[in-house]
Amino acid sequence: MQYRYVGLVAAALAAVALGGVCASAQEAERKGIPAPRGHVFKTIISGYEFRTKETRALQDDDLENPGFLAVERAADVWKKAEGNEGKSCMSCHGEAEKSMNGVGAAMPKWDDKLNKPVNLEQRINICRTEKMKAEPWAFRSQPLTDMTAFVRYQSRGMPVSVKTDGPILQWFERGKQIYYTRYGQLDLACESCHERNNGKFMRADFLSQGQTNGFPTYRLRDQRLVPLHERFEGCMFDVRAEPFKPLSDEFLALELYVAWRGIGLPVETPAVRN
């Protein structure tokens, strides 16, 4: 009789111990980088760490990663002359591997001429209209997303390093305000999920910190590369809000602020996500 109870207690203890191990193992699995002082997170964790091992494997192998189809497409477009000036990206910038190294990691960046920050998509289109005298690419169009991914890919592995001081600070503050404002019928802010509840299991998925280091990212759901502002739109749609327009000032401010929330994370473009 007594033996039986001993056995039960032992089993219960073992179960508790095992549970503890599992929980901590799961957390230990999510590797992050220590955040700088005054940051909202203690540890900044890439969205990669929240995905299943199958999805991660797809990103880890450059051949399997379907995002590279876009990178390769854009590598050809880089060399192709377009517009009235008869120039290609290469005419001014040379080899992208050298000239674009680190560019994508520091976007969005302040533009003195426009007196506002610009992101990578806008920068590419500014080049097209002003330098190449070519038609700008539409947002969400394949060539623009491909080229954005291609340029950002040249910074792969480099830390996200947006500047938030100087004239851009206003935009940073605006982005922060948007991040913490509740929107839509569901009355949720970005913060509600990605700051307060990240790491928790919601519906069939883990909530991530909402980092942007992998964008444009190949979403398995869409079976194509998705630019950041489309993802923002999707989030706002999901909380049943009226989304801001892609490349609007609101999303630009938010892009800047969210990039800062992931400061120091390595760029993973083209990442693979759900």
Partner: protein, 108 residues
């Protein structure tokens, strides 16, 4: 969209060695089950077949079905008995064929 498929295989292999071949091709793989914004069905357009030959001899072939997602990734193994050229072919529903070639040498 005549894009180059992505293929990965070793440059050389020992006689009798089993090598792994990875292929990835860009394609929409439209299933034919979906409808557009106007409610009209989007016609099916998928890659329905894949073949791989070494020096004209079949190595691997498969049929692809509408449930396969965009940008199909196919991985398979082959035993290498001779040096030569791999020919890959993806057949589209519209009859067009995406082709690619890769050479393999025998280890001395």
């Amino acid at each position: 969209m005549a894009e180059k498929p992505r293929i990965k295989l070793p440059k050389e292999a020992a006689k009798g060695e089993i090598i792994q071949i990875k292929t990835l091709v860009s394609h929409v793989m439209e299933s034919g089950q979906r409808k557009d914004a106007q409610g009209k069905p989007i016609p099916r357009k998928i890659i329905n077949g894949f073949t791989c030959e070494l020096n004209g001899k079949p190595v691997f072939a498969c049929t692809l079905e509408p449930a396969i997602s965009a940008n199909p990734y196919i991985q398979f193994n082959a035993r290498i008995e001779e040096a030569g050229t791999f020919k890959f072919a993806w057949t589209d529903d519209d009859g067009s064929v995406i082709t690619a070639e890769e050479k393999i040498a025998l280890k001395a």
